[in-house]
């Protein structure tokens, strides 16, 4: 589990981002981080912190979202299966990434949504036609039930060989 010092550090970070000093972060507070502002998917990532329809996130929500990126420790793998799945399980990490693509939150990545996210990642450097064929190919390769969209199960299948635990984990130095 998260140690006391890690929580203290993240709280310190939370307060340093909270320029309005009202205990919550707004989207502008995130956008003030230059390295995040130049990330092509910066806005999608920021969005992941805010629950549906809300403009402010408190420390609890902040920690909850960041919890997805805790490394999967060995002792957690053997924890009791009856409890709720931890936020940083492989499945939940994949779900986090899935939600970055799924713009309208209908649990499906449609061709349109994939196109929009691709456009964010490539900017103006690729034409609509090229991007369209990339999207078509990707959906064709992943789609198994023939609905021309990628469901979460299909998403998981495509990525079964990828080391998700390593790619979507952030380690504390201490």
């Amino acid at each position: 589990s998260v140690s006391h010092s890690q929580i203290t550090r993240l709280y310190s970070r939370f307060t340093s981002l909270d320029k309005g000093e009202n205990g919550t972060l707004s989207r502008e507070d995130f956008q003030r981080i230059p390295e995040l502002a130049i990330n092509p998917l910066g806005d999608r990532i920021i969005n992941a912190f805010f629950p549906e329809g809300e403009d402010q996130v408190n420390f609890r929500g902040f920690m909850r979202t960041l919890a997805h990126f805790r490394p999967i420790e060995d002792n957690e793998k053997s924890r009791d299966q009856n409890g709720p799945e931890p936020l940083n399980s492989r499945s939940n990490k994949l779900h986090f990434a899935f939600r970055l693509y799924d713009l309208d939150k209908d649990d499906k990545i449609s061709r349109d949504e994939l196109l929009q996210v691709l456009r964010m990642m490539v900017g103006v450097n690729i034409s609509d036609e090229q991007l369209g064929s990339i999207a078509d190919r990707t959906i064709q390769e992943a789609d198994q039930d023939g609905d021309s969209a990628i469901s979460f199960a299909e998403f998981v299948k495509v990525l079964e060989k990828v080391d998700v635990e390593q790619k979507m984990s952030i380690r504390f130095l201490h």
Binding site: A37, M121, G123, N125, I126, L159, I170, H174
Partner: protein, 455 residues
Amino acid sequence: MFLLLPFDSLVVNLLGISITVLFTLLLVFIIVPAIFGVSFGIRKVYMKTLLKIFQWATLRIERGAKEKNHPLYKPYVNGIIAKEPTSLEEEIKEMRRSGSGKALDTPEFELSDIFYFCRKGIETIMDDEVTKRFSAEELESWNLLSRTNYNFQYISLRLTVLWGLGVLIRYCFLLPLRIALAFTGISLLVTGTTVVGYLPNGRCKEFLSKHVHLMCYRICVRALTAIITYHDRENRPRNGGICVANHTSPIDVIILASDGYYAMVGQIHGGLMGVIQRAMVKACPHVWFERSEVKDRHLVAQRLTEHVQDKSKLPILIFPEGTCINNTSVMMFKKGSFEIGATVYPVAIKYDPQFGDAFWNSSKYGMVTYLLRMMTSWAIVCSVWYLPPMTRQPEEDAVQFANRVKSAIARQGGLVDLLWDGGLKREKVKDAFKEEQQKLYSKMIVGNHEDRSRS
């Protein structure tokens, strides 16, 4: 009420005597040495004593925390999370190698590509390289100032008494002393330069102007109890050159100008600053700009070029970062000063925040609050390194030259060398950087996908 009368004159007498004594001491121990540029070494002894006390205080706090079995909050200067220094290209290639069995050299899009951007984004939310440069550095051990204490609950009674004593000394003894010195220094500067300004131009005027400036800056140095160690003084800037340094606070000017004679560059302010600036320029040719002229880069460059081409004129002092950074890193140098073609004399300034953090967080504190904080710290301790002069090589442009100088300064001062613009303190980052990232990624996914698209 009447009983107080005989005591009244006694009190007045005592007050008069103590003020005279104080003033004489001030004169003998501080102002006279400042005029001649010598030092009794009082400040160094003060510094050593303080260090011993700080070490003791830190040990006490650690003991207190251990007794309660709590982990102590220790600030980490090198970041709180492990960041992989791999680039976009490397990571995506690695993911493709492990994820799918497809050939590596066919550039294409994979659903897993998003992991890179996602993780990098979350990493910067937890700890980024830029925003932490705009607030004061966290100290590893406590220096008996409440402004730097993170472990309040572990302070014992003895420590509290010591802290209280410190408050008394700093606010009731050091602060009035320093304000008196600052007042003396500034008024001497204004009157001295105005008087020298009436002299006809020539060797005599130059000599007097130099010494008036030096004397007043030295008094100001003592007004802040600044303990400065100068290294490599043989590399000090010469006439016709430009001196560039990293910027942490307005005190940088006082620190450099008390060891050399420079022409200042800057915007004319109103109020007290404006009075000082107008007086200074009477004695020696500083380069002051009106607010409207500052925006005109061409005009600025022209006036600076005129100044450096006149070999009799003093070296210009410039801070190319353009804003105050917290002295843990050096941020982008604006290329303006490096286009002029003069010899650049880099100077690295590193403060020791243990005795008083000199960083001016201008979004948090105004100038007056900042100066009060400075004057109620223990001391301002810093090291100044004069680096060997550099000139622009034929094959490099102004930006590359600026980066080369910046790296040299960062290396000498033990600071992190960043490419980010200090202006990000207030402004948003330019879209061009995001576009660069998008372009890079596009190159990775565009390729022979045409033959793979099916109807």
